[in-house]
Symmetry: C2
Subunit: 595 residues, 2 copies
């Protein structure tokens, strides 16, 4: 049976030593997040993940969800208790303002908890995860009445949330959507249409389900400019807050998926369901984007979570499984064979996953911290810098952490040989579960297009120039630092490749947009590599500072893992640049029929 241990110590190191989390204590909510509180929150969150959520992971995969004849959906055995523990622990509202029952703590902490929860049990963690996404949209765009009606119940976990975007004929291209909203004359609307791939659309974990639904109001303009956002509760809510009549929304079927079996993925039918507009008419996509940014970061976090849990179990197996002898002579001569962790190819695999995970965790927390600054700072310039960072890094965190998270789960599975392919060992589930994160909340190719088409050119390229300048400054400031030399040199090389690619797009993509499209995914990964390399350089700086105070094996090991990244992983930037510069000619030359 696989197990999970939340990386509390690593999160604390990143927050305290690398990111200077406590320096933000002037931000709203941060004053409450003293070092003691942070450590207590993480420790409690770890307990929940390790002791409650992780033991339900395999059973969720085996049993899956069942749609009953009456349209209700039963979740796997134990899920209700697991969900209740999550809700009762106050985790749902960790960073929701106190006026709605939340704890108002930084979103950065919530992000760390999301990693723990999704690493322990991705399918189960999605029920609260979607609720948090729906709350985020209501917080920003909901009316005071909507906030008062829905948020406290959602914070409590009594009600959960969903996001309803996709329809059978439209996923990425939301302009094609057909779900209709007809005004009822009393301020409410009547919604009719079919939504698919609705995670947590129907289940037995909560009393009510708050659906956020995009639809087209009768007579609205075609395309994305005619989309509005609605809140459609499963049960209508009486003025006193109690539950009223069942609304005209139901689960038509659930999907049989490759993974995340414990999450119910529903076809939702809206048959004249009563809904209320959230935010402005025809501005639904804007409102949805708030939710999507948060959700995209959370999905990136899921990729890291699966990478981490797969790594931990591969390590345990590699220490335990005896097979062959070390190339340099027997390491366990008293046993029939050495544990496979002595083999360089096994080490290479484990080091590669770990070198990614630790930098990805730093990137995730750094980006979450920018989200907090963007939302909570009183300094407009600081807010702008933080929002620039968030916008630029959202597609990177989403796509890079899920692409690599999945690839790492596959690598970890490989350590097990034939046992990795057998379901009872649990590695297959990590692979199958991790696979979805590359797809939902905008498939990773869409993230690349978002980066190249929207985030890069925005405000004259201000966000990217800010990032390049920040990394360049770090390199300049630390170029003479002996201990950082193994980091700063490779980082400069990666930065040069990123600058070269950015320049190439400026010169070649405006006139020929296919050049941007053909290089988009490579550019996203190139930026991701440099961002991760920058994280390693900052981690190394912190580790060296810590070593100067008191030597520790843990910090010495971090420096080795970081050098592994700089030597073997960061140089991929050069390959990405070559591909980008190849342009789009051969990519686009064939007629469609020639495929």
């Amino acid at each position: 049976m696989p197990s999970y241990k939340a990386p509390v110590e690593d999160v604390l190191f990143i927050l305290n030593d690398v990111l200077g989390f406590q320096r933000q204590s002037n931000l709203k909510g941060f004053a409450d997040a003293s070092p003691d509180v942070v450590e207590a929150v993480l420790t409690e969150g770890a307990k929940l993940a390790e002791e409650v959520l992780a033991p339900l992971n395999a059973v969720g995969d085996r049993e899956g969800c069942t749609r009953q004849a009456d349209g209700s959906v039963t979740t796997p055995k134990g899920y209700r208790a697991g969900y209740d523990a999550y809700a009762k622990g106050g985790w749902m509202g960790l960073s929701v303002p106190e006026e709605f029952g939340g704890q108002g703590l930084p979103h950065t902490l919530n992000t760390a908890i999301q990693e723990f929860a999704s690493g322990a049990n991705l399918a189960l963690s999605m029920y609260p995860g979607l609720t948090q996404g729906a709350m985020a949209a209501l917080l920003v765009h909901g009316s005071d009445e909507q906030k008062a009606t829905y948020l406290p119940k959602m914070v409590e976990g009594a009600w959960t949330g969903t996001m309803n975007l996709t329809e059978p004929h439209c996923g990425t291209d939301l302009g094609l959507l057909k779900t209709k909203a007809v005004p009822n004359g009393d301020g409410s609307y009547s919604l009719t249409g079919t939504k698919i791939f609705i995670s947590a659309g129907e289940h037995d974990l909560s009393e009510n389900i708050v659906h956020l639904v995009i639809a087209r109001i009768e007579g609205a303009p075609a395309g994305t400019k005619g989309i509005s956002l609605f809140v459609v509760p499963k049960f209508l809510v009486n003025p006193d807050g109690s539950l009223g009549a069942r609304n005209g929304v139901s689960c038509g079927s659930i999907e049989h998926k490759m993974g995340i079996h414990g999450n119910s993925t529903c076809v939702m039918n809206y048959d004249g369901a009563t809904g209320w507009l959230v935010g402005q008419e025809n501005r639904g996509l804007n409102a949805m984007f708030v939710m999507m940014n948060e959700a995209r970061l959370a999905v990136g976090v899921q990729g890291l979570g699966q990478s981490e849990v797969a790594y931990q179990n591969a390590v345990a197996y590699a220490k335990d499984r005896l097979q062959g002898r070390a190339l340099t002579g027997a390491k366990a001569p008293d046993k029939a064979a050495d544990p496979i962790i002595v083999h360089p190819d096994v080490r290479r695999t484990l080091m590669g996953i770990r070198a990614f995970n630790e930098a990805a965790r730093a990137l995730m927390l750094w980006t979450a911290l920018q989200a907090d600054i963007g939302h909570r700072s009183e300094d407009a310039a600081e807010r702008q810098r933080a929002e620039d960072h968030m916008g630029l890094m959202t597609p990177v965190v989403k796509a890079v952490l899920t692409d690599k998270g999945f690839a790492n789960a596959v690598e970890a599975q490989q350590m097990f040989g034939g046992h990795g392919y057998i379901e009872e060992w649990g590695m297959s589930q990590f692979v199958r579960d991790a696979r979805i994160a590359m797809i939902y909340e905008g498939a990773n190719g869409i993230q690349a297009m978002d980066l190249i088409g929207r985030k890069l050119p925005k405000d004259g390229g201000r966000a990217m120039m800010g990032f390049l300048a920040e990394v360049q400054t770090f390199v300049k400031d630390h170029g003479e630092d002996e201990g950082l030399k193994p980091f700063v040199g490779p980082l400069q090389a990666g930065l040069n490749d990123l600058q070269g690619a950015t320049m190439w797009f400026m010169q070649n993509a405006f006139s020929k947009p296919d050049n941007a499209g053909a290089g988009a995914t490579d550019y996203l990964h190139l930026l991701g590599l440099v961002a991760l390399g920058y994280m390693w350089a900052r981690i190394a700086k912190a580790a060296l500072a810590s070593q100067a105070e008191a030597a520790s094996d843990r910090m010495a090991d971090k420096l080795v893992v970081g050098r592994f990244f700089m030597e073997r992983m960061l140089p991929e930037t050069a390959l990405r640049l070559v591909r980008i510069k190849a342009g789009s000619e051969t990519t686009m030359a064939l007629a469609a029929e020639a495929f």
Copy 2:
């Protein structure tokens, strides 16, 4: 529902135009393989794959195999008819000598058929596939009596075969095996032990199952030098060839796997089962290696098969699915959106898979042809060259074609967005099925160690020097050829990286073997990239010659696809070289407890 079309035209082009298959007509069996016969065989094989095997793929995944209370195993609905069609068509013995009822045709043709069969239905194709592997071992190492007893029935398909190597505590490290063989005094042995992961170990497709089993004869030396090979039929065979008593071998359980559900993966219990020695006492591993080489090539072919079928279905979806508009303006203005094949990032994905598949197919057929030459040539020098090639390329074909085959299935699945994650669309099955090929017949890390530790240094590096010289000669001979310039230049660069890596190992790995181990996987992929690049150069040469005779879109397209490979995929050699040269220091530095 996914579909499959066997790439007959491409195989014919590679055989006839690229590899000069007909020039080998002096080899035994090749005279019978006239162009007409080759085309007829491929066309009939394609029909079997497309019309019989492919329609059974999804049902096999859904139903899986069931072990009944009496230890028998029931295969999915329709499998028996599918298997019978395979057997009755004479496919089992396509390249088995005529004296045993086979057709004695080149193994090269058999390899092409293996691609078709495994692309159409990997799980079903394994039953005949393992039978062919078992026949190969009996052909080389079996006594005349054993050959006469087993081969004709196996060629007919009335009996199937298996390979029994793995035990619970030993997969890679066969020296640890415990299964015991005690002489019965009448020339037979009594085998006792447990084997796991035995594909096709028990099923309802054939009258008898011929198990090839490695075991340790009582008193044999420890380790790999004390392993012998035995043939253990499920039913003992009477002197007249009819079936006698049930032997003491049974299926204890079947595994619940990530994929290939239609193949029964068995725990086999040997309880004093009667077996007969195949080949010499204590030389079982040598005998097994014959089987393993064939089997490893066949597994590489499976990787290509899954890559091809996943590609075909992704193409169909990309032409059909309407979403968004081309960056260069609407391509289907009469429709609500353009088909997604207009998007550069979709093209990039499809081109990448195709550029791999076509070169991998050439590499597979080239290697199979060398196997034929190695087995059938009367010229000793020619045989040696062919065997050198086979030995060197076996781990490359196995590991590169399965690593990339799986990665390509994942990429193809990605094209489908959310639908790719839903089982009914079939893309998940391709991914789950393709995953096993990276693991069985020696996990891919083991292939890398085989390459670096055994194949590379063998005979003073003769095989590798032969390969480097062949590619270098091609580059020299065609350096001035205008049409080949986009191929020859990048090929030379890749070759330089391969030479650099080989040199680096010579200088750094003998004294410090961990340097070889830490770079093994990168070296394997580096060699694979150069081999694929060389295949593209040869394909381009053939395409240009064909174009000179009569211009065709198909050949023009091939040149574009090949350039895509040279521009975007082959340059990965530089990254592989960087990783190799990083050595093993950071890889091996951490204490095992630090993981």
